[in-house]
Symmetry: C2
Amino acid sequence: MVKSKNHPNNRTRERILDKAEALFACKGYHAVSIREITKSAECNVSAVNYYFGNKQNLYCEVFQHRWLPRAKRIHNCFRQLLADKPNCKPNDIVRALAQAFLQGPLTDAERVRHHQLISGEIAQPSQAFNLIAKQALHPLFNSIRGDLNAAMSEIFGDDQLTLSIFSIFAMILHFNFARHLITSLSGHQYDTDFKNRLVDHIVEFSMFGLIGKNGEDWNASTT
Amino acid sequence: MVKSKNHPNNRTRERILDKAEALFACKGYHAVSIREITKSAECNVSAVNYYFGNKQNLYCEVFQHRWLPRAKRIHNCFRQLLADKPNCKPNDIVRALAQAFLQGPLTDAERVRHHQLISGEIAQPSQAFNLIAKQALHPLFNSIRGDLNAAMSEIFGDDQLTLSIFSIFAMILHFNFARHLITSLSGHQYDTDFKNRLVDHIVEFSMFGLIGKNGEDWNASTT
DNA sequence: TTGAATTTCAAACGTTTGTTTGATACGAAC
DNA sequence: GTTCGTATCAAACAAACGTTTGAAATTCAA
């Protein structure tokens, strides 16, 4: 009956989106109940169905109205960092990317939420995956692809460039969403110092690998 | 009452473990019901509580009796590949690792299950995380750390080595559990050719980064 | 063949789930 | 002050959930 209504910017609606996002991020879709969300948002159980129709749709609208805007803020931060460097080299691009994702405009709590949500969709894609793939992942991927392609003086195969971008993203995502494992194995907390260290590492490893900046030119052993 | 019983190797028990693992892997813990598992295993609902006490414990025993043995097979494959190469260099180590995880002893279906399960635990650690951290992740990490340390002629800081290993693992895990995203962005299916390509890429990128094997020695632009 | 232990089963347990209902409260327009 | 569209609420809904029960099968040693 109220199906076509939009309920734009209603207070309760916004509170539900906030709390739902936090809960979905840290426990996963099926582990969170509507009652848990509405109790956290201090409203009635039926508010979810009133404003969003059903639970599944609430989950999608969390991605639409919370996750995507944040992804755009990160993307803009990345572009801004690049704009400050005309004639940028590949290492500038990787650094801007790592900074945008690890130290960018988000608070650390937002960053954790952001990457928990996307890691869930990457591991087990749902309806929301198509949304963020089309609106965030594909555009960002193509954007970086173009930048890197222009910045690389060497001739780079299409596939080689694609796989390299995947690898850089693998690191950035992994250092964000595998925090527990990384803390457990390395002993480092995710403080400012460590995140600086991570950005430097991602740039150097992406550029020079294990060989390192001043690396010797050893020959590979017999294959 | 039957609490201390072990029910070793019972047929029904094994079938439940098999089906539970497959379902937990592809839908996640909370999205799978006991009835779904027992229907798939063609036994009575109460069999889960009879053999495993409760759902949570079944989940843990899946990791104990299915996931861990597979992790050990991968680890053994890795060690075997290294044993065939005396005086191995870092690129041999990375190649052995990538091969063990992407082409190793598992069937492809097993590999997908394996990485879906661990990606769930990495993103949102549960009881099972401590088990696999202690019995698989820490040992493998330390093992690789020792190998790489011995193979690197250059002096490598402790942290630098640690972060490099994380990065290599980030790639290997990412290329395994983000299959949907990677297929969506690159157009590649996970056939034999593509997996060969991935192993080669992981080795080259881990060794030389974007610069590549025959890379020029450009200078970084001004920081 | 007997009898005790183990395994399977249908049925039910009390909760919790997502969703719906119908009544009440609110807020602006007339 | 009345009216009307919107928002909130307690209460209830059927369905599904994890778990328990107690009685039938089944197994197997004596």
